[in-house]
Symmetry: C3
Subunit: 113 residues, 3 copies
C-alpha cells in the first residue's frame, strides 16, 4: 500500500487580467515556482467570479474579462515556506490559501508506471 | 513576512443545468454570496463528472450537458456561518464542502501592490 | 440547520495526455470510481501547468498539449479507503492528494429540493 506524506497545498487567487512586467501574472508565478522546484503546478481559470471590485464577471459560453484564475502547488512544508518570500513579492495583495494535506508524491510510482 | 489568518473554504458542487427562478443556480448563489460580502467568489466548470444519476457526463472538446460546476468562497468562519441559512435555501440538496484553511487575505497588500 | 459529516476529498493530478488501454486515463479513473460508488466525481482541466518534465505547458486561448487534469471525489473515509487499491493500479505514479473535510452530503436535501 502507498505511504501518505504530509504536504502543503498552496493556492493563489488572482485575476486573468493581472500582469507582471507586461506578461500575465499567473505566468510569472508559475515560472518562479518551477525555478524553486515546486511540484504539482497547475493553473485553472474560473468561468465566473467577482474580484475585489465586487462586480460579478462571467464567461459561460461567450465574452469574458477579469475572470478568476487559481494557481496551485503541492509540496513539502519546507519547499512551500522557502517559496513564500518570492510569492510575497509577486502576489500584488492577492488571496493566498494554505492547507495541510496528505499526498502520494509523484516519485512514488504505482504498479502500472 | 505575511500573517496567516484562519479561514474557511466553502465549496458547493452543483450541475450546470441546475436553475433557480429560471436562471443558472451558480448565478443565484454567486449573487447571494456577494450580497453577504463573502470573499474569494469563484465558479469553475468541470470537463467531466457524474451527477446524482450516476451517468458520466463529459465535454472534452465537444458536446456537453449536465457538467459539474463548483462554486467556492474563502472567508472568516463568522461570515461563512452567517451565509449558511441562505445557502441552505438555495442548494437544492447539493454537496457542500467545508475546510479549515490558512489565508493571506486580499487586503493584506504585498510588496508590489 | 444542516448536519456536517466527516468526509475525505481525494484528488488525483494527471496529464490530459495520460492514457489507459488506449483511452484517456481520467476516463478510466472516473469509471472505476463510479463503479465503486464514490460521490462527487468531477474532472477539471487546467489552462497551464508543468508536468514531471518541468516544462511549462499552457493553453490560454489557443494551442495546447499535456495540460494538467485533476479528478476529485468526496466521500466517506471507508469508501475512499476501499477505492485506494484500484486507484493505486491506475494512477501511474501520479500525485494523489487527500484531505479531511466536512460535508453536507447530497442526500441531505435542502429546503428547496
Amino acid at each position: 500500500m502507498p505511504v501518505w506524506e504530509q504536504a502543503i497545498s498552496l493556492r493563489i487567487l488572482i485575476s486573468e487580467d493581472d500582469t507582471h512586467d507586461g506578461r500575465p501574472l499567473h505566468e510569472a508565478i508559475l515560472k518562479a515556482a518551477r525555478k524553486a522546484g515546486l511540484a504539482g503546478g497547475k493553473v485553472s481559470r474560473g468561468v465566473a467570479g467577482y474580484g475585489r471590485s465586487g462586480h460579478i464577471h462571467e464567461s459561460w459560453r461567450g465574452f469574458s474579462y477579469d475572470l478568476p484564475v487559481v494557481i496551485e502547488f503541492i509540496d513539502s512544508e519546507e519547499k512551500i515556506d522557502a517559496f513564500l518570500p518570492t510569492l510575497q513579492r509577486l502576489r500584488q495583495g492577492a488571496l493566498v490559501i494554505r492547507e495541510r494535506v496528505e499526498a502520494l508524491l509523484p516519485d512514488d510510482a504505482g504498479a502500472n508506471p
